[in-house]
Amino acid sequence: MAIPLSYNFRNLWTRRLTTILTVSGMALVVFVFASILMLAEGLQKTLVETGAYDNVVFLRKGSNSEVVSGVTRQQASILETFPEIAMGPKGQKLLSKEVVVLIALTKKGSDKPSNVVLRGMDENSLFLRPQIKLVEGRLPRMGSTEIIVGTSIARRFKDIGIDEKLCCGMRDWKIVGIFDAGSTGFSSEIWGDEDQFMQAFRRNGYSSVIFKLQDSSEFENVKSRIESDPRLTLDVKRENKYYADQSEIMAKFLRILGISLTIIFSLGAIIGAMITMYSAVANRIAEIGTLRALGFKRRDILIAFLLESLLLGFLGGVLGLIFASFMQLITISTMNFQTFSELAFSFSLNSQIIYMGMAFALIMGFVGGVLPAIQASRMVIVDALRAV
């Protein structure tokens, strides 16, 4: 017969202060662990959701972001002749030629400049990104210096709002609308007429060409055509892959940072659990002797103390994850190393992170409790009973 679980609960309750301190140490470790993983997950989720599977992006060979890419007008018009392009509602080909530049804007609060993506669009750009919804104002008129800004930009940067003016490239750009693109990278961009941008920033080519595939299985055809045409010194990627690749370095950095931090921190928490469990054993020598005398086996004692330690880990894990789940309310905005531009994303919790956090907490409990539990189970009945 096993020792009832209520014995463990009561013991933890009797030493409340110790229990609380041990559990809070573990909870903090789990909190840090989960938060950093959530941050990496949020970044990746934002960038993966930005792209659509059926859209393909063409960039200059060797360039990994639109900012450094260049597609000449000639190349763009060759791409326009591809038969794989899907048709839009008005019978037009769903292909857009876009120009992307970075401009420095001042952030609210810190007054520091940050790089923001300025995307020149044409009339098809919005058809290719159905996730973009206008929340305020109107769309810019083509051929004018009107622009629309994403919600993350409107919220975080100074002097951004409807009827405000942005000045760069020797022109004033009038903000006529604010758009929301959900939790995607587009929410951190500014859009306007590409021809105006090309003139103002003296670009004689596009940054990228994007089109929607009629049938998503035709990607390979497009790819092989690009590779065999010497005029097209371009790389082609599916849009979701293109954006997912942009999150790679930063997400990896965050994950490595998170995991190495938590391993170090968890040593502290494991030591905390170990101290608690050793003292729990030391204080209960007589009790252990009594239990053994009553007929409980060594194995029962071992399990009882291990369970107590696992319980500590479990409580710590639950508490840490509860606090971490509140982090989902926070959105942070920082520079993505790979694109050199501002990107807003939030902490995002998924079931995998919950499992990992919980597993981590239980492992801490187990490692902290195993040695004291072995010590307890090895006691000789007579000696234990004699102890005061």
Binding site: A104, I264, A269
Partner: protein, 385 residues
């Protein structure tokens, strides 16, 4: 002296527990020190910047170039001593993960304006003479095993193609915080090829570095330069090197802030562990405290005993942690050299370590002390175990 002896004896009565606590504090102080060092590594560029240098870039953003002919105009501004310029090349050696900073610079003025890059005079001569030559930092050279005379090929991400450079010199840093992992080559070389392959960048430079005669002139000079190019095709933004570098750090400010917060979390974790130890210690000794009270010692004496013991444990752990920080940073700076070329422990970090240890010791002792003082003599004596 006697009290110190009592404190030490008390601290090591339960060797296992104290040993574990000590280990925990050591790890925490080590982690705290390393995280603070990581943050200071982020600011290394800011720290290394000179007060007599200004950076001029395109006012739209750093990705836009400035015309090469601005050089002569800037030179005429009052207070300007030297003008140098360069372009971020963005080349990759082999794989993308082998990242290091590489710039095309005007070599003569560049070496003059950055006296902290120390290059032997014969290497300098060779580098200046050879347009395909490059100069690399000591750390970079040892990382890839490059020697003088080697040919290094970089793959351009902005300026496409494979670019060959002949290593003509290896510089070392004058100061501790000088970045020894950069790569420089002739701007003329880049320009020659830009004219053919990337006309947008022909006769254009990425930024100007301006040496001013005296630091106090920098404000006026910056304004004068920006005024010069107002309403031109490429308006400029001039700021001190420090502000320029700070702008870079601020862009990834959220990450730095997160590391900063996390570095304090570790202190809280260890606070919980030490508080736990102290709680258990006092719990076991309640009977002794009752006896002390019976003998006439007051609450103050008991408080001194508990706070002192907590302090003894944390300070010892802190010392161990500090000692270990140095070899640990060595290992990390070797591993992460690509991301953080300068990775040194600052004196301030050491002070912060001790402050953290003191705070841990005091906070951890508060609740146990309160309990010990409040216990009534009769209750304390009656209690067993």
């Amino acid at each position: 002296m006697l009290i110190l002896k009592v404190l030490f004896r008390n601290a090591f009565r339960n060797k296992l527990r104290t040993g574990l606590t000590l280990l925990g504090i050591t790890i925490a102080i080590l982690a705290f020190g390393l995280l603070r060092t990581l943050i200071s590594a982020w600011y290394a560029g800011v720290e290394a910047s000179s007060a007599t240098r200004l950076v001029t870039r395109n006012s739209v953003s750093i990705i836009f170039p400035l015309p090469h002919f601005y050089k002569d105009k800037i030179q005429q501004v009052n207070g300007v001593k030297t003008v140098s310029y360069g372009t971020w090349f963005g080349g990759v050696y082999g794989e993308e993960k082998n990242f290091f900073a590489n710039f095309a610079v005007e070599p003569r003025s560049f070496l003059e304006i950055y006296p902290e890059f120390i290059l032997p005079s014969n290497e300098k001569e060779n580098f200046l003479k050879d347009q395909k030559g490059c100069v690399i930092g000591k750390k970079l050279a040892s990382k890839f095993g490059w020697k003088i005379g080697d040919i290094v090929t970089l793959k351009g991400t902005i300026f496409l193609g494979n670019w060959d450079f002949l290593v003509r010199g290896i510089y070392r840093g004058r100061d501790k915080d000088t970045d020894e992992s950069q790569f420089f080559f002739h701007w003329e070389y880049l320009n020659e090829i830009s004219k053919k392959v990337l006309t947008l960048w022909a006769n254009q430079v990425g930024y100007y570095i301006i040496g001013v005669a005296r630091p106090e002139l920098s404000g006026d000079v910056a304004v004068a330069i920006d005024q010069l190019f107002k309403n031109s095709l490429a308006e400029t933004l001039t700021e001190t090197e420090k502000a320029f570098q700070q702008g870079f750090v601020a862009m990834s400010g959220a990450i730095v802030a997160a590391i900063q917060i996390v570095s304090f979390v570790v202190i809280f974790i260890i606070m919980a562990v030490v508080a736990n130890t102290m709680a258990m210690t006092t719990r076991e000794r309640i009977g002794e405290y009752a006896i002390l009270k019976t003998l006439g010692f007051g609450g103050g004496h008991i408080a001194v005993l508990i706070f002192g013991e907590s302090l003894v444990i944390t300070i010892m752990g802190c010392l161990l942690g500090v000692v270990l920080t140095f070899p640990a940073t060595k290992v990390i700076s070797h591993e992460l050299g690509t991301y953080f070329p300068v990775f040194n422990v600052e004196r301030e970090t050491l002070y912060l370590n001790f402050v953290a240890a003191l705070i841990i010791a005091f906070v951890a002792a508060i609740i146990p002390t309160r309990r010990a003082i409040k216990i009534r003599i009769a209750d304390g004596l009656r209690r067993i175990g």
